[in-house]
């Protein structure tokens, strides 16, 4: 199967012009290429009918390549379609339903909603995936550079790690895409982030993005795009695709509309290693122009980053592990869409190997997909977890959203590599969630209190 072929710009003059443009950001290019109609907020450009460029602040109606909803947003999307009496999908091959959040069903009410999704997928012959987290499934199987992905899930932005335009919206708007193939988008302003240097021992991509969110604030990238680039080859070498996915996923916690690593050799290698069907001329190498306009430019030297802990209650309450080490915990959670990839499970296995989970602490490990699950078995990680006393679950969002497989009781404290630490996120309103890297969570599981992973590596 031919897995990856870039479209030939010469066959698509307009697209070629946009790709070559020197003054557009990634977001401006990605939206312009998919734009059917665009209304400029700038009167001069609005009167120039030859301009097909959508620039920051403009509103464009775009063609969508993939519109996803999961089991907590899909049922509402289906309900809205029914209320509008829309019985035909624009293109079922671009519609993805994923049952991941409360999978397998934790109770009868959830089971009924899952049944509703299965019935809908069967009737319309659209894609239905059960038992892998949507974002990881899209990364492993569907996304490609330049793809326009809208998801009924805020962390849909994860697919930016493959150079796609990917963002979250609500259920009824997803339903409208299923019906028409299109949606409106406001072109975001862009913050450019330049990475350099290597991580210290015990520091990972999750620490980088936690630190970043702490500095930018909980709404620091609201409405904005984050464009991640490299100012040296060391950072480029160290940030694997799993690490990129962690960063683009967690970018939602500072409100980002888009978080993207533009196409490079690693993108190409990842797609070649993880083949997928891509329609001819669909994949596009979108590189931001060298004179594009950015609202901010942030330089990060990775060597300056410590192991970080965020929380409780807000993602931007962040401090180094050393400042909170020693706090007793009831549970350590490793996994989820933010940090449940094989690189994360590997580091957890390295730390847990030959050691025991503290007797006052539960430890739960949840892979992000079936593929990661199988790989963890193959590499012997699952055996290590079980010997240490940890629980290894199926791939699901369960614990992260407090619905099953790891919910917290009153006043319980959890250190977690999952996505959010909002009040009551994982269970009781009085429980507290602290976010960290999988390494910090694993070290903490052994000690029964928040601990630095440094001595375990």
């Amino acid at each position: 199967m031919s897995t990856y072929s870039l479209s030939s710009p010469s066959s698509q003059n307009q697209v070629a012009k946009i790709l070559d443009n020197d003054s557009m950001t990634f977001a401006e290019k990605a939206i312009s290429i998919k734009s059917k109609r665009s209304q400029s907020h700038d009167a001069n450009r609005r009167n120039d009918s030859s301009s097909k460029m959508s620039m920051a602040g403009d509103i464009a109606v775009v063609d969508v390549d993939l519109a996803m909803a999961q089991d907590s947003t899909g049922p509402l999307a289906i309900r809205s379609l029914n209320e509008m009496r829309i019985d035909k999908l624009y293109d079922p091959s671009k519609v993805l339903l994923v049952i991941d959040h409360t999978f397998p069903a934790a109770d009868e009410k959830v089971a009924n909603l899952h049944a509703m999704m299965r019935k809908f997928a069967s009737k319309h012959d659209c894609m239905l995936i059960e038992g892998s987290i949507s974002h990881q499934h899209i990364l492993e199987n569907l996304a490609y550079p330049g793809m326009m992905i809208l998801g009924g899930d805020s962390h849909t932005c994860q697919a930016g790690c493959l150079g796609a335009f990917a963002t979250g919206i609500g259920s009824t708007e997803i339903a409208s895409i299923w019906a028409t193939g299109q949606i409106w988008l406001k072109v975001p302003e862009t913050v450019k982030v330049l990475l350099s240097g290597n991580f210290k021992k015990g520091v990972f991509a999750r620490d980088l993005i936690l630190d970043f969110i702490g500095k930018l604030g909980e709404d620091g990238a609201n409405y904005r795009a984050l464009e991640w680039t490299f100012s040296d080859d060391i950072a480029r070498r160290d940030l694997t695709m799993d690490s990129r996915a962690c960063i683009t996923n967690a970018s939602m916690e500072c409100g980002a509309k888009l978080s993207v690593f533009p196409f490079d050799k690693l993108t190409e290698k990842y797609i070649n290693d993880n083949p997928r069907r891509i329609k001819e001329d669909s994949a596009l190498e979108i590189h931001p122009g060298s004179s594009a306009t950015y609202v901010d430019e942030i330089n990060i030297d990775c060597i300056g980053i410590e192991s970080m802990v965020s929380g409780p209650d807000h993602p931007d309450v962040v401090r180094p592990v050393s400042e909170i080490a020693g706090m007793e915990i009831d549970q350590a959670f490793i996994g989820s869409a933010t940090n449940g990839r094989i690189e994360d499970l590997e580091i957890a296995a390295r730390i847990l190997k030959g050691r025991k989970i503290h007797r006052n602490t539960r430890c739960i490990v949840t892979p992000a997909s079936v593929r990661v699950y199988e790989e963890a078995i193959r590499r012997g990680y699952v055996e290590i977890y079980l010997e240490s006393g940890a629980v290894f679950t199926n791939a699901t969002c369960g614990a992260c959203v407090g619905t099953h497989l790891g919910a917290l009781g009153e006043d319980e404290i959890c250190i977690s590599s999952s996505s959010r630490n909002f009040v009551g996120r994982m269970g009781a309103l009085s429980s507290k969630v602290y976010l960290s890297s999988p390494a910090t969570a694993a070290a903490s599981a052994i000690e029964g209190k928040i601990a630095s992973p440094e001595g375990y590596l």
Partner: protein, 224 residues
Amino acid sequence: MASEDSLRDNTSTTPPPPPPPPPSSSSSQQQSSPSPLSSELTSSPPKSTTSPFTTEAILQGKAWVFGDDINTDIIIPFRFKSRTNDPNEMAKYAMYGIDPDFHKKIGKGDILVAGRNFGGGSSREQAPVALKYAGISAIVAESFARIFYRNAFTVGLPALEVPGIKDRTVQGDVLVVNLGQFTVTNTRLGDIFQAKSVPDFMKKMLLDGGLVEYFKKNQKFPWT
């Protein structure tokens, strides 16, 4: 008042529009209660000549004031919203993260006032649905998180971005929201705030009662 009626859901599951709540009587600064529909409050500032509306929708309600970063898990926790597809059931958990009994305390038509970044976090459309079906008629905040903001318009719940509103509003103030002008008036102080403008198609969708109602009426989506 056709347009005001159309702001509310017309399905049989929704109660009829409530009478305006009584103004707060706790404040000594309380002015005599102005009629929201007849006083000068509704005709000022001057009407925009470019307004696409023939009728202006006026909402009046008592204010509940919240702080910054009220996220979607506070507005409705996942474990409740993920086990039902019924808006009236979702309404029982509105603002559960701050007060599990909040839905019992809301008067029909009450207005939420909040600080920065209201609705951050998840994409859950159930968040504005829960608030709307609990009786909230509008949200006025210093700023909104982007997905919540879209979702509020989608479900026909007015969301007005008004920098400075939080510090100029106290619990129980009676606010008047003019959706034609996109203004908010605090009747106690007489302040009139201009909310951040939105594209016409979003306003039309809002005045039709949200995306589903817009589609049912026009047989098209607002942007197509």
